[in-house]
Amino acid sequence: MDKKFDPNLIRKEFPALCREVKEGVPLVYLDTTATSQKPKYVLDSLSHYYSYSNANVHRGIHTLAEEATAAYENARVSISNFINSPRSEQVIYTRNTTEAINLVANTWGRENFCRGDRVVMTEMEHHSNLVPWQMLAESIGMEIDIVPVDDRGLLDLMVYEKLLKKNPKAVCVTHMSNVLGTLNPIRSMADLAHEHGAVIIVDGAQSAPHMPIDVQELDVDFFAFSAHKMCGPTGIGVLYGRYELLSTMPPFLGGGDMIKRVELRRFDTNDLPYKFEAGTPAIGEAVGMGAAVEYLNEIGMENIWDHEQEIVAYAMDKLEEVPGVTIYGPEADKRGGVTAFTLDGVHPHDVSQILDADGIAVRAGHHCAMPLHTRYNLVATARASYYLYNTRKDIDKLIEGLYKVKKMFG
């Protein structure tokens, strides 16, 4: 891999980015926030695993079972290093961010919350960090407090501090908004949460793919992310947890692998991380996630972050020049590579549909953040998002496309 960061070379490693949407119309992929494209390195690792090392993990004595187990566990070590987890047992494989958060809510949450206890969430959460807690709140009778988003698109930290005085048991917050792009000050939010005796659960779905993550430096208790947004396959994600918490939490799903010993009427739970990995896991996908992490490390998370900062600043400058465009969220230096916007007089679905004719893939809708859209009195936005493989040329095509939309609806 070329050490010098060049998105034009990086693009070539992603087969999807080299295809045409239809004859003569190359793909301009601006929907990474929903899911990223996959580099050949990761695709090859999946193909290699399934072609030659496929076997069920653990307890196998034969060669393939040993290879599969080693690949599955080596990936865990890579991922653990990627987020600087103290021990790789603190990296629990899940299906995705959503399942990771549901795991915490249903084990740690169910064990620790009593009627009347409080949980703090924010107005910019993705549904996956709202609904699991709403479900728990409903069944236990907990109270939900919300940190609002201010007019700059940032969390109102004054309100956060006030809410902490009510002694919540947990704070659930996203590291980066998938709509506004806002990067939240997780370290200081974690310090404040801990001062007030609360556990902090961070949705890292949009940060882990785009910036260096150090869970010890962030000092978070739980951190969840998905492989598919960071060059890896779907079907695999991670829950990182503080060791003391994970080791005392009850198991999540019951079945094979999560047990040490089973009798007819009782069982002993297995050690970490297996306690939380019931049944045959997504082995090939875990291997693919490990490959994705290796791929990203090779390019360098700092480089990726710097590139996206440059691209998002360029995109915001260009978008702001288009009459009728409104961008939501903070200035470029306070956000990651996401721009959600509206175009006066045109529904975001129509924007997206017309852009698609020129091969430009942007998402339209509420992006699983309905409360946030309600806060802005919107039902939907169009969202263009950027990754290591996007270039200024992609942005230029987006802008050109938007002028086409305006002409059509003008």
Partner: protein
């Protein structure tokens, strides 16, 4: 795509026919498509033989949802509620004159759904 935004569709979107609300109305119903946030409300006035004498739609959403509502209003002029109950998905697609994928089909069908629930009365409506 060029097809999807045919001149006639854009025309109905930009210059909707029968846009507004009727107060009082004999039949009013409203629904939305939570996926896209399209919203349509339809108000009808009918005579003694359940024939439509006045209709109006309101709401907001994408060009496909709003244009199909506007075209539908034009189409149901003077029809009876019984005739409305017979409207099908194909009638809407014929009216729009385009093909649609599953996501945009929901946008196109929202006004028909609202109209038919109104015509049947909420309780009798069964999704087809």
């Amino acid at each position: 795509m060029e097809d999807m935004y045919r001149e006639v569709i854009l025309d109905h979107y930009k210059n909707p026919r029968f846009r507004g609300e009727l107060d009082p109305a004999d039949i009013s119903y409203e629904d939305d498509n939570p996926l896209c946030g399209d919203n349509i409300r339809i108000d009808l006035r009918v005579d003694d033989s359940d024939r439509i004498v006045e209709c109006a739609f309101s709401g907001q959403g994408c060009a496909i949802s709003q244009a199909s509502a506007s075209m539908l209003m034009e189409d149901i002029q003077g029809k009876t509620l019984e005739e409305i109950k017979k409207y099908s998905r194909d009638d809407i697609l014929d009216m729009l004159g385009i093909e649609l994928g599953p996501v945009r089909l929901k946008c196109a069908m929202l006004s028909l759904k609202v109209l038919k629930v109104g015509a049947y009365g909420v309780k009798e409506w069964v999704e087809d």
